[in-house]
């Protein structure tokens, strides 16, 4: 299937990536090639086939409802690009 520049830009919007016109054009071409090869899947007869969502046959892997100590706040915040003494800080989000 052909991928247009507009499609690439729409998807980039969803994925929060900025692209220049030139990048979008190039990616449209490249993604078109990759999608072509993903389109091979449409040749398959998949009628009645159950999808595999997990590579292992495991189910009901749970933990008990037990409290564990949390991490010290300094360690939680240590990698924050912008933070104050207690919180991460982001540009003002308007609701």
């Amino acid at each position: 299937m052909e991928i247009t520049k507009e499609t690439v830009l729409k998807v980039a919007g969803l994925a929060k990536l900025d692209l220049t016109e030139a990048e979008a054009l190039r990616l449209a071409h490249e993604m078109g090639k990759i999608v072509e090869f993903a389109d091979k899947l449409s040749e398959m007869d998949l009628e009645g086939v159950m999808p595999t969502t997990h590579a292992v046959k495991m189910e009901n892997v749970f933990r008990d409802d037990e409290m564990q100590p949390s991490y010290p706040r300094e360690e939680i915040l240590a990698n924050g690009p912008e933070r104050d003494e207690a919180c991460f800080v982001v540009p003002k989000v308007v609701e």
């Binding site: 997990h54 919180c87 800080v89 609701e95």
Partner: protein, 478 residues
């Protein structure tokens, strides 16, 4: 022009009352210093993996059974993607097409009419963190992040603000009874999104707007009423509605548009590979069903049939499971009528809870004490005013561990029913109040209550008022 009908559906989020979060061992305790209930898993650090808390699954099943749902034998979690600073992984681990519960209902009562509201589904998911908006920036606190939630999605079966209120109230009661959530709306443990559209009978559904994160029953009602009115006004003025997400401002009593939806949300869901499928056996469902408490409706019925309580009393008593439990325990030990126990709960106990700003769960004594008190009262061993005093003392820490009998004795609150003693007091009162006696004899029969009051005063409230009344009448020769 008021032939528009409202079509309303609710999505209710209830934070589950588990000790730890849904995928890690961090506490779910409300509040706490910012970012102190956080670890690599709930911070979404790269490489950290979720481990599903089994209690979350069990609580969801329990809520589902209480809401008459079917339980999916095979269920799983899915990732719901969107970017927001309160969502650390940029996806919310939720459920898409295989929720744990589906196809249930909740009966509500509005104006004496019962209405059945369909429950489409109940699924588990994680809560987001908290954003604290400042002047220049927004601060992010992940303490609440990844607390286990259930989302209860109703059918669009509701049609008025009153029904919205009743639905939320009844739902809250059921969740409290099952113990899956503390439902503290002021702490955000229970909140709802209200979807509203209006249309005319026989015409297709109208454009829908959604009001997000409403956190009180009255706000849900007010916001719905406002929105129905607004939509009607727009249509009546020939305008057109657009799909939008609104935010209710409770202080101002108006809805704000948060954002206009141009197209459906793109969450690009897919099955969560890091959490294994959830398989729920019929045995598991039955085991959880066996732990369900008697729900409010059933209790109300029982109170009416077994104890002859009125509709009103039965409803009031079952509003809180804690008070209803207290009633059941007291009645089991009480020799007098159940109504005596009910009156204490609906009267003095409720008043004191309000005065002391306590939750119903915090009544500092049990059914045994309440039964003892009710027995004393119904046997006439204490007056009603003395009984109120006893309840007050039972709430005081210095009387902790003492039963009503002990308090009555210690505080000398026992009612005097000694006929000789009361008779003597009555005679004194008659002698000291010739004017009132004259009135009485002159035909003002109600004047006797003033004399009874004087006897009570003289006895420091301990005389049995009924006996005093009778003796006074005798002495006055009527």
């Amino acid at each position: 022009m008021s032939d528009y009908k409202a079509v309303i559906g609710l999505e209710v989020h209830a934070e589950l009352d588990t000790a730890s979060k849904i995928y890690c061992g961090c506490t779910t305790a409300f509040g706490g210093e910012e970012n102190t209930h956080v670890c690599p898993v709930c911070l979404g650090l790269p490489g950290a993996l979720p481990l599903l808390n089994e209690k979350v699954v069990e609580f969801c099943i329990k809520a589902g059974l209480a809401l008459n749902c079917k339980i999916n034998n095979y269920s799983r979690q899915d990732r719901k993607h969107y970017f927001y600073p309160d969502l650390p992984k940029s996806f919310q681990t939720s459920q898409l097409d295989l929720p744990i519960c589906y196809d249930g209902y909740l009966d509500i009562e509005v104006n004496g009419q019962t209405k059945r509201i369909g429950i489409t589904r109940i699924h588990i998911e994680e809560d987001a963190g908290k954003l604290i908006h400042g002047l220049t920036g927004t601060r992010v606190d992940y303490n609440r992040g990844a607390t286990g939630l259930i989302e209860i999605v109703s059918e669009p079966d509701l049609s008025s603000p009153e029904e919205v209120y009743a639905y939320m109230e009844t739902l809250r009661q059921v969740l409290l009874y099952t113990g899956v959530s503390n439902c503290k709306m002021e702490e955000g443990s229970l909140r709802c999104d209200v979807n509203v559209s209006i249309h005319k009978e026989g015409e297709p559904f109208g454009v829908r707007t959604e009001m997000k994160n409403i956190n009180s029953l009255s706000a849900a009602k007010a916001a719905t009423a406002y929105e129905i009115k607004r939509q009607k006004q727009v249509l009546e003025e020939g305008g057109s509605l657009f799909q939008a997400t609104l935010r209710w401002d409770d202080a101002k009593g108006i809805n704000y548009v948060m954002r206009v939806k141009e197209h459906a949300d793109e969450y690009y869901y897919f099955p969560e590979p890091d959490i294994m499928p959830i398989v729920i056996s019929p045995e598991k469902v039955e085991a959880i069903r066996a732990t369900l408490p008697e729900l409010p409706k059933a209790r109300q019925q029982r109170y009416k049939e077994q104890y002859g309580l009125s509709d009103y009393d039965a409803n009031i008593l079952t509003v809180s499971k804690a008070l209803s439990d207290l009633f059941d325990q007291a009645v089991a030990e009480c020799q007098g009528p159940a109504k005596a126990c009910a009156n204490f709960i609906m009267g003095d106990i409720t008043r004191l809870l309000n005065e002391e700003a306590l939750q119903p769960e915090e009544v500092p004594f049990g059914g045994k004490e309440l039964a003892e008190l009710a027995n004393l009262a119904s046997q006439g061993a204490i007056s009603s005013s003395a009984a109120s005093k006893v309840v007050e003392m039972l709430f005081q820490p210095e009387f902790a561990g003492k039963g009503p009998k002990a308090i009555v004795e210690e505080q000398n609150l026992g009612q005097v029913s000694d006929q000789g003693a009361i008779k003597a007091m009555c005679q004194q009162v008659i002698d000291a109040n010739p004017k009132i006696v004259e009135d009485y004899r002159g035909g003002k029969k109600q004047a006797i209550s003033a004399l009874v009051g004087q006897v009570m005063k003289a006895s420091k409230g301990k005389a049995n008022p009924a006996m005093a009344n009778q003796l006074l009448e005798e002495l006055l020769g009527s």
